[in-house]
Point group: C2
Chain length 598, copies 2
C-alpha cells in the first residue's frame, strides 16, 4: 500500500484537526521556549553551564521536523525564522568533514565515533530526518545538503574505512533515517549503509550501556533471528521500523518476516490496551510476555509513537486492516494522553492506574521510579514532546492509501482526499462518534476499513442499504460519478477483557467506546477506584468542559472499618463517570483507573 | 498480666514442639556454621578480608541469646562450648572502659560513639539482651558482668558526661535492652538511661541515614507525640516495645498511650493478613495507611518478630485478647514462613504473591528490589535467622499468664503449666486442628481465650456442656480438684476480606483455617494464580509430605489467546489445593497466591 500524503490529504475539521492545530499553534512554540536555553543554545557549540547533554541535538532535530510538517497547514513566520536560524547554526558549526554534534564537538572532540552508547548516530539520524522533512515540505532547503554531507561522512567512516570504534549505534534511529534519506534522494549508498548497520547488529559483542544486557539495545541476536520484542522499547521499535523499511526496499524476506514476527510479539503479548509498550521502568523495557502492570506501567509516549509509525511501515509492505487497528489504538489512547488538552503539558510515561497515596510515598522517599499524575512542560530527558509534534504533523499520511488502483480509507478523521480519478470528502465525529458521511466524486474503487471495535456497522450508498464485510476487514464500493456513502461504525460502549495471562487484570474489565479506552478519575469518582465495577453500559453521555463523559450504572465494594473481616463487602450501587483515557489528568492530580472489577 | 516463663511452662508435643526442636537441633548450629567465618571470626578483633560489617556483633548476640533459651530444653555440649568460647572472646577484647564493638575497635577506633547511623548501640543492645538471657538461663554467667560494665560506660558517656557525638542511636534496640537489664539486675540507672534515650528521641535534629528522612528512624517527633507507625518497620517496633516497657515500669501514661496508639496504627491500617509489616522495600518502610501490596511486600521476618514481641509487652500493661490474637496471626503465618521446613533456609522478606516471570525479569536485570521465591541459608544482612531462633527459644513465655490470681490460657499449643495452686496439661492439634483437651488439677480460676477466628466454639467441663463467651474474649472456668475441659475452637475454613482501602485486594478474598492463612502454589495449581476463585469451603483435607492441604472447589478464569477481547472469560471449574502460608516455597521456586478472586 502506498500511503497518501499531505499533497493529497487534508484534515478538514473535527477533533483531530483541533489536536493538530493545537500542536502547530501552541505546542511547537511552547516546546521551543522550553528548549531554547538548553537544546537550541547548545548549537552555538561553546561550553556552557549547565553543560549540554549528549542527545540535545535530537530534541532540536525533532522540533525542526515538526516545524516542517506543521508549517504546511499552519505557516508561521516566527517558526520559519527559528528554523532558518537553527539550521544556520548547524551548518555554521558543521565540521569540514561533514560531522555535526554539538555535544561531542564541544565536550569530547577527541572521542568522536568512539562511544557506542552515547547517541551520536541517533542524533545524526534525527537530524537527517529533519533535513528530509524540511526539504520535502520546502520550509528549508539548506539542511539537506549539510546532512547528506554528514551521511556521506558516516558512510566513509563506518562502511568504507570502518575505522570508528563501534559498528552499530547503541540507540537505533540512524538506520531508519538513512532509509528515508535514500527514499528522498535515491542515493543508493544510504540504503547500503542502513542495511549494513542492520546486518551487523547482533553479530558481535559490542559496548553496552553500563549495567545493561545486549537485549537492551537489541544486539543479542542478528536482527533476522530476533523473534521476541525485548529491551528498551523505543530502541527496539525504531530498529524494527528500519528492518521493515529495508526489507521492503531490498526485497529481503527474512528481514520482513522478522519485522512482522516482532510486531506480533508486541501486539499479541506486550501491548497495553492503550497501545502503550515497554512496561518496566528498568531499562524502559518490554519485560516478559503478558507482564503489563497498570500502576507502574512505563509505556513511554515515544514508544507509542514508534509503534504507530511501525504500523504505517508494515502496511506499506502488505496492507492489513490490523495495522490500522493498532495505529488507531495507539493514536487515540497512549499518544493522545501524552499531551495535555492545553497542548503545553506532556507525559513521558503513561500509567493505566494512579493511586495518590502511592505517589505521595514515592515522591517523599527515594523510590527509584516515581510516576507522575500531572503533565509537565519539560523533562530532563525531554524526547517525547517534540516527538508528539512531529507525529501529529504527519497525521494526514496515516489516513488513506492506494493499493492495486483502489483508494483505501484507513482512518475516519474528517478530511478531504484527492487522487487522479477521485475526490473524497469525509465528514465524521471521529473519535467521539460513529457516523461517517463520505461524498465521493469520480471513478474508481473505494475500500473502507470497518474497525474491529464496531458494534453492528451499517452502510448506505446513495441512500440504499449496502452490505458490508465483517468488522476488522475492508469492504469495497465502486465509485462512478457522485456517490454518497453513509456509514455508521457503531462505536457502542463495550467491555473488554484481557488475556488470562495478564494477571494484573484478572477478574477485571475495561470499557471502550469506539477507538477510545475509557477511565475513571478520582475527581469524579472518589478514591479507591479499584473497588468500582461498571455494571451496565446503558447510561448517559455528556460533555463537560470539553471532555466527553459517560455516566454509567456501577457498584462500589464497601467494607466496614476492619482491616480484615469475614464480612463480605457490600456492593453499593452508584454511578461512575468515565472519560476517555486521553483526557485524564487535565483537572489536577487525581486517582485514575482503567480496569474495573468484572 | 504476668507472662509465665519456662520455669512454669513446657511445650509437650505437637507442631510447635517440633518447630522449636528443629530450631534447637538444626537451625542453631546451621546458622553458627554460616556465621562462623564472618560474624564469629570478627570477634578476634583483627582486620580481615572481607572486612567485618558494622552490625556483625548483633548477629552473634542474637545467636547467643537463642542458645541461652534453646539450651534450657535442648542442652548441647557443642553449643555450650561455642557459647563459652564466644563469650570468652568478647570479654577478652572488651576495652578496659567497658566498650565492646568488634567493628569499631578494629576499623574505626577513633570514631567510637561518633556515628549515629552505624548501629553501635544497636549491637550493644543485642549483646546486653544476650547477657541477660545467658545469665537468666544459667548457660553463661560471664557475659552479664561484662555487659553491665559496657552499659555503665554507655551511661557515663551518654547520660553523665553527654560527650558522645549523638544522643540517640539510629537503630532503636538499646532502649529495650537496657530495660531488660534493669528488670534483671534491678539497677535503676539502666532504666534511667533507657528513659533518657526515649525522652530525647525526636526532640532535636540528629544525623540521619543518608538519603533518608527523620521518620526513617523515628526521630520526626518526640516519642509521646508519635501516633502513626512510620519509617523502617523493625526500628519502629523495637522503639515502641521500649516505650511500652518504660511506660509500664515508670507509670508513664503518655508513653503507654503512644505505644497503644502506634499498635492501633499498625494493626488497623498497616499489617498484612500474615501479620507482616513494613510493606515497602524502600527504607523497609511502613508507607501510607492501607498500602499493602502483595507481590512486592517487604514484610521482613524481623519486623514480624518485633510485632509479636510488642504484643507480649502490651499485654503486660493491660491484658487484652486482641494482643494474643495478633501474636497468633504473626506467629502462625509471617514468622513461621520465615523459616524453611528443614530449619535451614530463611526468608528476609515475605511476599504474599509470587509470579515467576516477574522474578525472572528482576533477577536478570538491575531491578532495585528483587524478591526471592526460595529460602536461603545466609543473607548479606542476615539479621532474620538468629532472630527466629531466639524468638522460638522464647515461645513458651507467650502461652500463659497470671492476672489477678487467675491463670490465663492465651495460646493453645500442647503444653504443661504449673503454678502454685494448679497444674494444667493442655493437649491440642494446634494450629492444625481445633480440639483442645485440658486436664487441670488444683484450685483457682482459669481464663481461656476464644480466638476470634473460631467458628462456633463449644466447650464441656467434666463432660457437661459449658457456656462460653463470644470469640475474641476470655471465658472463665473455676477449677476445684481434677477438672477436664474439652474445647472445640472450631477452626473451620473461612473467607476473609480486606478493608476497601486495601485496593490491592479489591474484589478478592483470602482463605483462613484456624490461625493459618492459606495459599495456593504453582506447583499444585499451575500458573497465573490470580485467575483462581475458591468457590466453596467444602472440600477434602489431606496431608502430603508433612504439609496439610485443603482441596477445594474452585474456578479459573480462562480466555482464548487474544491479548484483548470482548469475550467474557470462561469460569472453568477446577479444584484448588491450598496449603498453609507457612509451608510455601518448600518445593522449589513456584508461583504463590493468597488473595483469590471473590
Amino acid at each position: 500500500m502506498k500511503p497518501l500524503g499531505p499533497d493529497s490529504v487534508v484534515l478538514t475539521d473535527g477533533f483531530f484537526k483541533e489536536v493538530v492545530g493545537r500542536n502547530a499553534e501552541v505546542s511547537l512554540m511552547n516546546i521551543y521556549r522550553r528548549f531554547q536555553p538548553t537544546r537550541f543554545a547548545a548549537l552555538d557549540c561553546v561550553k556552557r553551564d549547565p553543560p549540554s547533554h549528549i542527545f540535545f541535538d535530537s530534541d532540536v532535530a525533532k522540533w525542526l521536523e515538526s516545524a516542517a510538517y506543521l508549517s504546511v497547514r499552519y505557516p508561521s513566520e516566527a517558526i520559519a525564522k527559528i528554523v532558518g536560524e537553527t539550521v544556520g547554526k548547524i551548518v555554521a558549526h558543521q565540521l569540514p568533514c561533514g560531522y555535526f554534534n554539538s555535544y561531542y564537538q564541544v565536550y569530547k572532540p577527541d572521542r568522536i565515533f568512539c562511544e557506542r552508547t552515547e547517541h551520536e548516530l541517533y542524533c545524526a539520524g534525527h537530524l537527517i530526518e529533519a533535513a528530509v522533512a524540511l526539504d520535502g515540505t520546502g520550509l528549508n532547503k539548506e539542511l539537506l545538503p549539510a546532512m547528506r554531507k554528514y551521511a556521506d561522512y558516516i558512510y566513509e567512516r563506518f562502511y568504507v574505512k570502518r575505522d570508528a570504534a563501534f559498528v552499530t549505534c547503541g540507540h537505533p534511529e540512524i538506520e531508519l533515517a538513512l532509509i528515508r534519506l535514500y527514499e528522498h534522494t535515491k542515493e543508493e549508498k544510504y540504503l547500503r549503509l542502513a542495511k549494513f548497520f542492520l546486518d551487523e547488529r547482533g553479530t558481535r559483542a559490542e559496548e553496552i550501556y553500563p549495567g545493561r544486557e545486549p537485549q537492551y539495545d537489541q544486539t543479542h541476536l542478528p536482527v533476522r533471528e530476533q523473534r521476541e520484542a525485548v529491551g528498551h522499547a523505543v530502541r527496539a521499535i525504531y530498529l524494527y521500523i528500519a528492518m521493515a523499511d529495508a526489507g521492503r526496499l531490498t526485497h529481503d524476506d527474512a528481514l520482513i518476516d522478522a519485522a512482522k514476527t516482532l510486531f506480533r510479539s508486541i501486539v499479541d503479548q506486550k501491548m497495553y490496551i492503550t497501545g502503550g509498550t515497554g512496561s518496566n521502568y528498568v531499562g524502559e523495557w518490554f519485560t516478559e510476555p503478558y507482564d503489563l502492570p497498570n500502576e507502574y506501567a512505563y509505556a513511554e509516549t515515544c514508544s507509542a509513537i514508534a509503534l504507530a509509525l511501525f504500523c504505517g511501515r508494515l502496511s506499506k509492505i502488505e496492507n492489513r486492516a490490523e495495522y490500522h487497528e493498532v495505529f488507531e489504538r495507539v493514536l487515540c489512547n497512549n499518544i493522545l494522553a501524552g499531551q495535555s488538552l492545553s497542548g503545553k503539558g506532556f507525559f513521558y510515561t503513561n500509567p493505566l492506574e494512579t493511586n495518590l497515596p502511592h505517589l505521595k510515598f514515592a515522591h517523599e522517599h527515594a523510590v527509584p521510579y516515581q510516576p507522575i499524575a500531572e503533565r509537565v512542560e519539560l523533562f530532563d530527558c525531554s524526547c517525547c514532546p517534540p516527538n508528539l509534534t512531529r507525529f501529529f504533523g504527519q497525521l494526514e499520511t496515516a489516513l488513506y492509501g492506494e493499493e492495486e488502483s483502489a483508494l483505501l480509507v484507513n482512518q475516519y478523521l474528517s478530511s478531504k482526499v484527492s487522487i487522479a480519478d477521485m475526490v473524497l470528502l469525509l465528514q465524521s465525529e471521529y473519535p467521539l462518534g460513529g457516523h461517517v458521511r463520505i461524498d465521493a466524486e469520480g471513478t474508481g474503487t473505494l475500500k473502507l476499513r470497518i474497525p474491529a471495535w464496531s458494534g453492528k456497522p451499517t452502510c448506505t450508498v446513495n441512500g440504499k442499504p449496502y452490505p458490508i464485510r465483517p468488522r476488522g476487514k475492508y469492504f469495497t464500493v465502486k465509485i462512478e460519478g457522485k456517490t454518497e456513502i453513509a456509514l455508521d461504525l457503531d462505536p457502542r460502549l463495550r467491555f473488554v477483557y484481557a488475556n488470562e495471562r495478564v494477571t494484573e487484570n484478572s477478574g477485571r474489565r475495561a470499557v471502550e467506546y469506539g477507538p477510545l479506552v475509557l477511565c475513571a478519575e478520582g475527581v469524579d469518582n472518589g478514591s479507591a477506584l479499584r473497588n468500582l465495577s461498571v455494571t451496565s453500559l446503558h447510561g448517559e453521555r455528556r460533555t463537560e468542559g470539553g471532555i466527553p463523559c459517560f455516566l454509567l450504572p456501577a457498584e462500589r465494594l464497601t467494607t466496614d472499618g476492619a482491616l480484615y473481616s469475614r464480612k463480605k463487602p457490600k456492593k453499593v450501587p452508584c454511578t461512575v463517570k468515565l472519560i476517555p483515557y486521553y483526557a485524564w489528568a487535565n483537572r489536577g492530580e487525581t486517582d485514575m483507573q482503567i480496569w474495573f472489577l468484572a
